[in-house]
Symmetry: C2
Subunit: 455 residues, 2 copies
């Protein structure tokens, strides 16, 4: 495996060599190569960590897993980390400091105290928001100007702030009035066509004013709603304002990008009984513990379903074919319910449906489940009747499958809708609740009908 | 529900009233309100459809479900739809024409023939790519210039193309040489700082040239890889070139946005045995049929697992407690496997792991499953021993749970990795394959051990 090590070392060397034009790596790539280094050679890893420029160190540190971030804060001098934090955009600096605090609270406090006043205030403000609010995801660095300012002077400021490394990724000029209330947002593709010698007001008034009405979000808006706005209006940036309209910051397409990827991961994991935050960590313990919690819940519900089987032990003893067939009823119910559940959870997440659409969504899902219940109930009825050479057994399993698949569709839809109604994430725990119903109804309907009809 | 109708009508009226500054709706919103209109009043719907400006008609049509798009092509004159197609960016026009073709092939051909030559050629080129390739998602409208052109002249062209409605959403100027090979890409935030009277070459050479090396994708690159590049480099646009470097088009952040949302939906649906394309349609038939296919596969595998129970019918007849407990072993195995499966599928999709990482991923997943198997095997062993007052029954279920959870972790990881190895979507069908294993191993190990130890 030394080839892997040599390759990673060479690529980082190329990146560090300023004379090479083609060697530049993204922070993500650098983090990957550093991982390889650490896997094979701790000392080499530490050496290269020190070589990293503070300008990119922060971006790389954000990409590192916890145990390697710990190496960063243990190995590098505090001044260098402080410099790296100050190089980051405010939202990223806030994130990185949070990651450091999760590892070493004292160190985080020490670093925070070393930051300059402006950075401290920005971080304090961003940390005052809940993680699901727009304010927590905004960056305070942006390009703004007053209505009465000449465009040429605003552009000169842009040049300076870009040269000082204070501003990047600019796509709009935000125009505020004298109370810092946001009035207009002008995309650079229009700005470049404006007259640089005139004020912004003069420039705007010579065009269609309402074209520059800004898209904006309130700092307390849910991040989910902001992501929906990006999608709906194909935005690449949105202004974040206070409730009184004062311009506070901006959220850019890459934040939204990360947000929707993370939300999708969360949905997939939660549907499978996996906690997405526990999995992020590189240690097995947290991930294993997170999964054990849901397995524990599943064990309790499985015990409940099994106790239903226990009610019919005499029926089963008299007719063992029931034990052979009953998992089929439960399995088909579980599958049908999971289909309705996945569709409902995802459509809720995408904003395609809401609780108020419950009636039409239920109608759709229950119809599909019921029709499939009739089809597979009939098929399985014939199979069971032939397999065990007993017509009434076919009737029993057919009827119980229709019943179970009907309720599977119903519960697969109503569970996530209800969770959403009470502002609970519709993906969390819904699969476990659902299979409790489909197992219980499956076993009860099948064994109950068998007891009643067959014995 | 006439309140809903009145509200939708009023909002569209406001949108159509050009004197109102605040009434503008997004194409998505317009489509939603048109749906409401159609639900309550078909005639009113048709009336408002005709009122829509061709400039926005295409964008709205893309957002409509199939049966309403059918209304559009049946109601509106062909010339108006052709105008709407020509107003759209090339990638959107291609999509819309494809949707129309799915509904009415002759109509699509008729509309295509009415398009001007340039639009026809663009659509033909975009349709020549497979849906999973970058070329299929690019738009050919972009802002480009030659190295020797004066910036002022390039900007004048931008102004003209924007006024003609040919170009929007510009964030970079792409610079090509005389063979149309892409050389540089300059973000507008830098371009606005350049000297308009100098050529682009002069401007670039007065700065750090390597700063403007373009991010580019090949037209035959997988869209997944392009989306990964957007994420890794925080891009808002990428140039698409031919294999010889000729600039063909661009892919923007909003295309990527849509792509990652659709990919996540596909993963969630496929894991649940739902076909994402069938669900998109508003008719129940396709969605129901898509789900029935997977339920059919599940029935076959459930029959296989059940036939394993059939091998032990005498054991069960002698000891009915086994029938009560066996679903617990299968359920815990299924859950453990699903956890490993969801994590592996998602990490593959996010590019965090590849097939070559199989060994370390397997080690991680199997360790977690085995440890949880030991924990829950022990817990369930004690519960079963007490419940049925038989110590050896506890040993049997404990051992079979350790076995089943171990293999659940193994198969939950190896199935998606293997599918990926053979370039099959790791989410498709993997859940059904997995539960076949966990059910079969669960039943076989539990009943087999019971027969061997208890009888």
């Amino acid at each position: 495996m030394n080839q892997e090590l040599d390759e990673a070392k060479e690529l980082i060397d190329q990146h560090l060599d300023e004379n090479l034009e083609d060697g530049e790596l993204s922070p993500y790539e650098l983090a990957q190569h550093l991982k390889t280094l650490k896997k094979h050679d701790e000392e080499l890893f530490a050496k290269y960590l020190e070589k990293l420029d503070p300008e990119i160190l922060g971006d790389v540190a954000i990409e590192l897993p916890d145990h390697m971030l710990k190496d960063v804060i243990d190995t590098l001098p505090a001044e260098k980390i402080v410099e790296a934090l100050e190089e980051l955009e405010s939202d990223d600096a806030t994130d990185l400091l949070q990651y450091i605090e999760d590892i070493d609270e004292d160190k985080a406090r020490e670093l925070f105290n070393e930051l300059d006043k402006e950075n401290q205030n920005e971080i304090l403000r961003l940390r005052s928001y809940d993680e699901d609010r727009a304010g927590a995801h905004m960056q305070t660095e942006l390009f703004s100007a007053h209505l009465e300012e000449k465009l040429g002077s605003a552009v000169a400021r842009l040049r300076q702030e870009k040269q000082e490394g204070k501003l990047e990724n600019v796509s709009q000029l935000f125009i505020i009035d004298k109370n810092s209330v946001l009035q207009y947002a002008i995309p650079l593709e229009d700005l470049i066509l404006f007259d640089f010698t005139k004020t912004l007001k003069q420039n705007i008034e010579s065009t269609q004013i309402d074209h520059y009405k800004p898209h904006m979000a309130n700092d307390m808006d849910l991040m989910q709603d902001v992501a929906d706005m990006f999608q709906e209006y194909d935005l690449n940036v949105i202004a974040v304002t206070s409730s009184t309209g004062i311009l506070l910051g901006r959220i850019t397409y890459d934040d939204i990008h990360d947000y929707i990827q993370e939300s999708a991961t969360e949905q997939i994991y939660n549907l499978a009984g996996v906690d997405d935050e526990s999995e992020e960590d590189d240690t097995l313990f947290k991930a294993g513990r997170g999964r054990a919690v849901w397995l524990g819940v599943n064990l309790l519900t499985a015990l409940f379903s099994s106790s239903i089987i226990g009610l019919f032990d005499e029926t089963i003893a008299a007719y063992v074919a029931l034990a052979v067939l009953m998992p089929i009823v439960a399995s088909m119910g579980g599958n049908t319910g999971t289909q309705a559940l996945a569709v409902t959870v995802r459509r809720l997440a995408l904003g395609e449906i809401e609780f108020k659409d419950a009636k039409s969504v239920l109608k759709r899902e229950v119809t599909i489940s019921l029709v499939n219940g009739l089809i597979f109930g009939a098929i399985m009825g014939v199979i069971a009747a032939v397999w065990f050479d007993k017509g009434m057994l076919g009737v029993v399993i057919g009827l119980s499958m229709v019943t179970n698949l009907f309720f599977a569709g119903f519960f697969g839809t109503i569970i996530p809708l209800t969770l959403r109604r009470f502002n609970i994430d519709p993906a969390v725990g819904s699969a476990v609740i659902l299979t409790t119903f489909t197992d219980a109804i499956g076993f009860f309907s099948f064994l109950g009908l068998a007891k009643w009809i067959l014995l």
